[in-house]
């Protein structure tokens, strides 16, 4: 049992991280908030790097990797707060022309609000009668579809979303720790105070527990494992971003800080893949099955 990242997996993760640091850094994030809209050049760049074709067989022009590698890539996307219908386009690679290469932007209708409906080239599912919402997340435009029969996202979509949530949880912990080490009050870094220290420790504990669940679900692809990963990752992301905001104090409550964007995205992702109670019921049924 080698439940750790292989050399290749580490290299893949680092590669995606570097790509995103180059193509979507803090300045790009700011610019995206100021002027919302999907960056088509970035989308094609992701396509060229194999982000969408990661799990397509090499014979079909894909990278030929598996779910664990996809999870690592989506964790990095979550960490960088990368906008766009990443999961839907990734899942459409191989069935929708141009999705694999990033030429075509694909979104999907599941039981939650539809993301990026007007920017998408292809919409999977019935989006008739869609009404725009004033989205809480400035980087994710949303539509409500009133009459459509809600199709629930498949387990892989749920798992990739959980991987993005894990990225947010990890990033929130990093941001909080960085601030707690440098921000001084009462003559010392606030990270020296136990009240702050313990918030940060709990953020790490939640993130690492979620990591074990998400990575294991990527290996087994078992729907119950995926439901567990989803619960833990949602919790780690939402509470992590909230605690990160708290550690930042008044600055955390401002539009200028990056923290609110992480929290809002975590809320958007938590609405994907059906109600959280469905996951809880699946896990409960597993106990008596």
């Amino acid at each position: 049992m080698r439940f750790q990242l292989t050399e290749d997996q580490r290299a893949l993760r680092d590669g995606v991280r570097q790509l995103l640091a180059r193509r979507f850094d803090a300045d790009a994030l700011r610019a995206a908030v100021a002027e919302p809209g999907l960056d088509r050049a970035l989308w094609r760049g992701l396509g060229e790097a194999g982000f969408f074709a990661l799990r397509l067989p090499e014979s079909d022009g894909g990278v030929g990797l598996g779910l664990p590698e996809a999870v690592l890539a989506f964790e990095e996307a979550g960490r960088a707060l990368l906008p766009g219908p990443l999961v839907a386009t990734h899942l459409a690679a191989g069935t929708v022309a141009g999705a694999a290469t990033g030429e075509t932007v694909v979104t999907a209708v599941d039981s939650g609000p539809v993301e990026w409906l007007t920017e998408a080239d292809v919409v999977l599912g019935d989006a008739s009668g869609a009404v725009p919402l004033r989205s809480v997340d400035p980087l994710t435009p949303l539509h409500r579809v009133p009459d459509a029969l809600p199709a629930t996202a498949g387990p892989v979509a749920v798992l990739l979303t959980a991987a993005e949530q894990l990225g947010t949880a990890t990033r929130a912990c990093e941001l909080a720790v960085r601030h707690a080490r440098t921000r001084e009050q009462f003559g010392q870094p606030i990270g020296a105070f136990q009240a702050v220290k313990h918030l940060c420790a709990e953020m790490l504990v939640r993130a690492e527990t979620a990591r074990a669940a998400v990575y294991a679900a990527a290996v087994t692809a078992d729907p119950v494992d995926i439901a567990a990963a989803r619960l833990l990752a949602d919790e780690a992301a939402e509470r992590g971003a909230r605690d990160c905001l708290q550690v930042h104090g008044g600055m955390g409550f401002t539009w200028e800080s990056e923290v609110h964007l992480h929290l809002k995205r975590a809320w958007v992702r938590a609405q994907r893949g059906g109600e959280i109670t469905e996951s809880e019921e699946l896990l409960a049924a597993d106990l008596v099955g």
Partner: protein
Amino acid sequence: MDLSYTPEEEDFRARLREWLAEVLPGLPPKPSPDDWPARRAYDLGWQRMLYDAGYAEVYWNASPTVRLIFLEETEQAGAPYVGANFVGLLHAGPTIASEGTPEQRARWLPPVLRGDEVWCQGFSEPDAGSDLAALRTRAWRDGDHYVVSGSKIWTSHAEVADWCELLVRTDPAAPKHRGITWLAMPMDAPGITVRPLRTLAGSAEFAEVFLDEVQVPVTNRVGAENDGWRVTMVTLSFERGTAFVGEVVACRRVLGELAREARKNGRWDDPVLRRRLGRLNAEFRALWRLTQWNVSEAEAGGGVPGIGGSVFKLRYSHARQELYDAAAAVLGAQSLDLDRLWVLDRLSSLSYTIAAGTSQIQRNIVAERILGLPKGR
């Protein structure tokens, strides 16, 4: 990332499973939790069976993965817990194996493995709980002996122990972490008084141990004089690293029993309770994956459990309390009946966020040693 086992590991699992199925039905009934001599005999009898079947050394000489399989299978089969042998097998034994001289290893290790001798832990003191290094029990050199005076508290199994892994202060002038020495003290030496402590669970789980000029041979010192803090850190890394593996398996089993009980008594129809159990399923699945992750890391890192143990211990100790609170919700008013299953477990789970380093201490460890946050003044 791989969760599969090698053919050798699978073979070990199959043989162990077969052996457990063969021997467990013949075990005598479990003794009362308050009858310490009977508990000692029961636990050591089980250890002897493991020894005779060649499984005793799994604790010390097997790879972390094989140890994981061993703990998983024995717990799933409902085999006895290490019990009175806990300190010897999981703390003192690995510490002596790692830090002791060849003579010390030959003297103390085989009796632990064979189930002949029981150890207890003389670390905590009344005025030095979480601040372990503030201990005050003194030891003076007198020829080829140390003379020890002071007192210890929270000492599990002290009533029936043969040996005590004892921390003493040998240099009161040194900074508090530097003047400590690790001794193996025979529990039948003159000057030792053991007084049982009654816990909130009603049982005498712990004892206070009073030491009045107890003589301990200098040859019983493990590590150098005044180097006991480093030796203790070796002991504690074992305590936080792998000590809870079997318990996570046990909690997953209990969760399944809770769900079945809830179906029987009708509470399963309450969606709030049902989803609460569903969440606990997610929690303990994740804790099992975290265990596998930590064991894989230990295997890659040479076998000594790493600091991930603190992350695990924090999450697990709170989850265990939530599990038994859920048990009380399943039982309803019956959760007030001490004769009901799970009620005593609920009471004893209250110790988990305190023992082996409180959650507050563990959060400091995580924040300072993993996240690199500064120490407070």
